[in-house]
């Protein structure tokens, strides 16, 4: 379905519910995984996902169509994650440039984490990154978003994003190479 058609459905009060059902069908899994990588535990991701959809449902009439619908959805999800992490860390504003000291604790506390996988090494590297670096890397590498989309979602300069991504990619490659030697 074309985005324009979906938006028409969503913005018409008579077809809003139908449009919303289609939207959930299209973006549900991708939005969940994007959130999960930021908040780590499944239960937290589920809560944040619910709040994200409530915001989407209430705010769709105000969507100005300056970006793709998917970018707008991921931006809401991203902001909802930042809000959740701030509440979780009891800070007014989460520190994007500092490391998450509880990264491993959160992972191991989650019953939906498979510690048997090669994931351990990967998470060890990710845990050493700042939240900002990790988010940018996740969005590009896992979610396969364009740099321009990441820029709109995070409200950051595109060149800064590129620079962060390539430096993180370098770190990860180096770490993996060292561990396989």
């Amino acid at each position: 379905m074309k985005e324009g058609t979906l938006l028409k459905l969503l913005k018409n009060p008579n077809s809003k519910n139908k449009g919303f059902t289609l939207l959930v069908g299209l973006y549900h899994e991708k939005t969940y995984w994007m959130i999960r990588k930021m908040v780590l535990s499944h239960d937290s991701a589920n809560d944040v996902l619910q709040n994200t959809y409530i915001r989407i449902f209430k705010g769709i009439e105000n969507f100005k169509e300056k970006s793709k619908l998917s970018t707008w959805i991921y931006r809401i999800a991203y902001n909802e994650c930042i809000r959740f992490l701030s509440t979780e860390s009891k800070l007014k504003k989460v520190e994007l440039d500092s490391n998450d000291d509880n990264y491993s604790r959160k992972l191991y506390a989650d019953e939906y984490f498979d510690a048997e996988n090669l994931s351990l090494k990967f998470h060890q590297i990710l845990s050493e990154l700042s939240l900002r670096q990790r988010n940018i890397f996740n969005m590009k590498y896992f979610d396969e978003l364009k740099f321009s989309e990441i820029s709109k979602i995070t409200d950051m300069n595109i060149n800064t994003i590129k620079s962060i991504y390539y430096s993180v990619e370098k770190i990860i490659k180096k770490e993996i190479d060292e561990s396989t030697l």
Partner: protein, 109 residues
């Protein structure tokens, strides 16, 4: 979900996405329906309140229009006004005698 996700070791409960979709659609669409019901109800309530207030006002005004014709011209004060006479003590005393019981008037010692 692309192949790289396997590297993260994240798992989800069985049928999570289907259950979650149903829950989200139920929550948001029910919210909207409830909101609409509430709006219809409040509009109806406003309409009933408006009709009620209009009828009270109408009844009161129609009562006010008829009241001036219901006065008793036998009252000494009214008749005095109607006949354009001066009010004297005599009329007032008569009026008070008629209308007020003597034992209800407090006379200080």
């Amino acid at each position: 979900m692309n192949q790289h996700y396997n590297k993260l070791g994240f798992k989800i409960p069985q049928n999570y996405f289907q259950k979650s979709k149903d829950q989200i659609l139920g929550t948001n669409i029910n919210y909207q329906t409830k909101k609409n019901k509430y709006n219809y109800r409040s509009t109806f309530q406003l309409l009933v309140a408006a009709i009620f207030l209009t009828s009270i006002l109408y009844l009161n005004f129609s009562k006010l229009n008829t009241e001036p014709n219901n006065f008793s011209s036998e009252s000494p004060i009214i008749s005095t006004i109607l006949l354009n006479e001066e009010i004297t003590d005599e009329y007032i005393i008569d009026y008070l005698t008629d209308k007020i019981a003597v034992n209800e008037i407090y006379i200080p010692k």
